[in-house]
């Protein structure tokens, strides 16, 4: 039983680390701020959450496991909020998306309002 938990925890730990690594690769390879945000917010949250779940699985202690799970919930709640805040702040401050962006409806709406 303990062995099964350990194998499962090791699997979760490896998956979480792999996702975190992929988030870091994404933040380096993707072309602009807004696409990078996808990598950091999703892969980052899943990676960190999986590692915390692995800790919860292998600690064999109720209080510690509960704390780790609350940590996961906290991570899942805060990551989208901070990504959203950063995206909103950057767009309002005037950081424009990369040229390969096919459509930017915030820009077009602002232009049509300030037009006539």
């Amino acid at each position: 039983m303990i062995d099964v938990m350990l194998y499962l925890g090791a699997f979760l730990l490896l998956c979480g680390s792999a996702f975190t690594l992929l988030a870091a690769i994404g933040i380096l390879r993707l072309p602009d701020l807004y696409t990078r945000m996808h990598a950091a917010s999703k892969a980052g949250a899943v990676g960190g959450g999986m590692v915390l779940l692995a800790v919860a699985l292998v600690c064999f202690e109720g209080a510690v496991a509960l704390r780790a799970i609350i940590g996961v919930l906290f991570l899942l709640l805060t990551t989208p909020v901070s990504a959203h805040l950063l995206a909103r702040a950057s767009h309002r401050a005037g950081y424009i998306p990369n040229k390969i962006t096919v459509l930017d409806e915030i820009q077009t709406i602002k232009k049509s309002q300030s037009g006539p």
Binding site: I2, D3, V4, M5, L6, Y7, G9, A10, F11, L13, L14, G16, S17, A18, T20, L21, A23, A24, I25, I27, L28, L33, R36, M37, A40, G44, A45, G47, G48, V51, L52, A54, V55, V58, C59, E61, V64, R67, A68, I70, G71, F74, L75, T78, T79, V81, S82, A83, L85, L86, R88, A89, S90, R92, A93, G94, Y95, I96, K111, S114
Partner: protein
């Protein structure tokens, strides 16, 4: 292979992967090119550090590390919020010129 030995191997591999991730996000912080890019990379850096501390907690069996990890994620969240407000108050370089030509 017993569970404990496998766990030992898994934490080693995980620590290597997380180390590379840490390095990659530091590269993004250094090359920028804009302030939000760096803030985003810092945000990811705290998540990577959280995973790192989690892996260390499993490897050493010291669950006190978990508290550090949770406090770190709190701190990263607050830092990103503060940075977002700061970015909002400062127009992007070049944004003012674009406003004029419109």
């Amino acid at each position: 292979m017993s569970g404990a030995a496998f766990m030992d191997l898994a934490t080693s591999i995980a620590l290597v992967m997380l180390g590379v991730a840490l390095l990659l996000s530091v590269i993004r912080i250094v090359i920028g090119p804009t302030l939000p890019d760096r803030v985003l990379a810092l945000d990811l850096l705290t998540v990577v550090a959280l995973a790192f501390v989690g892996a260390i907690a499993i490897r050493t069996g010291l669950m006190l590390y978990l508290d550090i990890a949770i406090a770190l994620s709190l701190l990263g969240f607050l830092a990103t919020i503060a940075f977002a407000r700061y970015i909002m108050t400062r127009p992007a370089p070049g944004a003012a010129d674009r406003e004029k030509t419109k």
